[in-house]
Every structure is written in structure tokens, then in C-alpha cells.
């Protein structure tokens, strides 16, 4: 019996983990979309019921969860572009690993200021604006 390969191009490497993360974030965002369409539908019921449910999004804990959602969407979106490039760009498969590292840099560079701004808005509502 041939023994299992010590490592392959794919298994346990960048390609596999980015696929795992793409799948998890995709499913997560899909479930959020379900809830989000339902809560937004309250604009058709009454202004007060809509305002009430939106208050939930403004609370610190849920706002923190929203930062997580933004992170999930951002990863999925950037990685989706990488998948498209792997499929359609002739050198895509060759540079899939490099593209993942570029993607992760972009992810951090975009997420940090976004998370900062989101949490700042919420902190200002809680404690009042610093200016």
C-alpha cells in the first residue's frame, strides 16, 4: 500500500484553508442575509417597529458582531476575486498563493480602519463625541 503523501500542493496548504474559509464565510453571510431581509421588512410594518429592531444593531455587543460580519464579507469578497482570477487569468493558478497573501494584506488594511470607524460611532453614541 502506498502511504499517504506527506504533503500535497493542496491538502493542508493555502489553497485548502482559503477554500475552507470561503465556504464558512459564504454560509455565514447567507444566514445573516435571511435575518436581515426579515428585519428590514419591518419598514413596511411601521416606523416604530423598524426603529426598534435597528436599535439592536446599535448596541455595543451586536455592533461588535457586525464587525465580524463585515470581516466575513470582506474575506469572502476578496477571496472570490482571487477565485475568479485563478479561473480566468492565464497565470492565475501559478500565482494563487501569492494572490492569497496579497488578499490577506488587503483584508487587514481595509478591515482595521473599518472596524475602528464602526466601533467609534457606537462609542460616541454611548459616551458622547470627543469633539
Amino acid at each position: 500500500m502506498p502511504k499517504a503523501p506527506a504533503g500535497t500542493l493542496y491538502r493542508g496548504r493555502e489553497g485548502m484553508w482559503s477554500w475552507v474559509a470561503h465556504r464558512i464565510t459564504g454560509v455565514l453571510v447567507f444566514f445573516f442575509l435571511f435575518a436581515h431581509v426579515l428585519d428590514t421588512a419591518l419598514v413596511r410594518v411601521s416606523p416604530s417597529s423598524y426603529n426598534e429592531v435597528i436599535e439592536v444593531y446599535k448596541s455595543p455587543i451586536v455592533n461588535l458582531l457586525e464587525v465580524g460580519l463585515v470581516a466575513a464579507v470582506l474575506f469572502h469578497a476578496l477571496n472570490g476575486i482571487r477565485i475568479i482570477l485563478i479561473d480566468f487569468w492565464e497565470s492565475g493558478p501559478k500565482y494563487q498563493k501569492q494572490m492569497l497573501y496579497i488578499e490577506l494584506v488587503l483584508f487587514v488594511v481595509l478591515l482595521v480602519p473599518a472596524a475602528y470607524r464602526m466601533l467609534l460611532h457606537t462609542a460616541e453614541t454611548l459616551f458622547g463625541s470627543a469633539t
Binding site: V27, A41, S46, Y50
Partner: protein, 153 residues
């Protein structure tokens, strides 16, 4: 087609590489009543995931930026804010296209996930029925809300 003598002896090493059918290429029915007729559905689904993904990149990230980061972020969102935005056909169209593309893209994505993990035919069937029912509900409700929104409610 190979015209040279193909290895024929039993147990003889196969010298001619087998002709492999490209993955996902549809197989046409040759004889009436032979196999099930295949369609190009999976190919179109694959293409749709990429086109919708590209559009969603701008629609969804733009939406998250406007709603959570610009100006006061989510803290400024309320009924009046929605009424102000949806007074413009541009934002209604944006939200409608985003809703339809995201729901279809996500539903097709989940169909793939179900096909990957649910092994019993019955389980697959019912999970997909649940998925398609929820997708129908979300698309219908969301579209209705965008079209019938009343700012004077």
C-alpha cells in the same frame, strides 16, 4: 481515435492513455432512450457564481461602507433614513439588484454545500426543498418591500 493496435491481451499493461472526458462537460445522448439527457445547468451555475460575485463585490461592499462606516454609521439609520434613500430610484435599484443577486448566489452556494455533505438522497432532497422555500420567501418579501415602501406610513 487511435488507429494503432490497442493492447488487447488480458493483463497486458495499458500503453495507450485513456481518453478522459473533461469534467463537467455534458454528455449527449446518442441512442434514444439510452442515458439520462444531461444539461448545461452546472456550467451556467458556475458562470453565474463568478458574474454575480463580481457585481456583488461592489454592491455589497458599497452597501456595508455606506451603512456602517460613512457619516454616523449604523447609529444614524432609522425609518427616516431609509425613506430618504428610497426616495431615489437609484438606491432602490441598487438594493433590488443586490438582494436578487445575493440571494441567488447564496442559494446556489448552499446547494453546492448540501450536495457535498448530505449523503442520503432523502436528506439532500429535503434540505434543498427547505433552501429553495426560504430563497423564494426572501426574494418575494424583499422585492415586495422595496416596491411597496410607503414613506408616509
Amino acid at each position: 481515435m487511435a488507429t494503432a493496435a490497442a493492447p488487447s491481451g488480458r493483463g497486458a499493461p495499458e500503453l495507450v492513455a485513456p481518453e478522459l472526458v473533461a469534467p463537467r462537460s455534458p454528455q449527449r445522448r446518442t441512442k434514444p432512450g439510452a442515458a439520462k439527457v444531461r444539461s448545461n445547468f452546472e456550467l451556467y451555475a458556475w458562470v453565474f457564481m463568478r458574474i454575480s460575485g463580481l457585481l456583488l463585490f461592489f454592491l455589497v461592499l458599497g452597501h456595508l461602507f455606506i451603512m456602517n462606516i460613512l457619516d454616523g454609521g449604523v447609529q444614524r439609520v432609522n425609518f427616516g433614513f431609509v425613506a430618504g434613500r428610497w426616495a431615489s430610484p437609484f438606491w432602490r435599484l441598487w438594493d433590488l439588484v443586490m438582494l436578487l443577486l445575493a440571494e441567488l448566489h447564496g442559494t446556489n452556494g448552499l446547494r453546492t454545500v448540501i450536495n457535498d455533505y448530505a449523503e442520503r438522497a432523502q436528506t439532500r432532497f429535503w434540505l434543498k426543498m427547505l433552501l429553495y422555500t426560504s430563497a423564494f420567501l426572501v426574494v418575494t418579501l424583499g422585492t415586495l418591500v422595496i416596491f411597496t415602501f410607503d414613506p408616509d406610513l
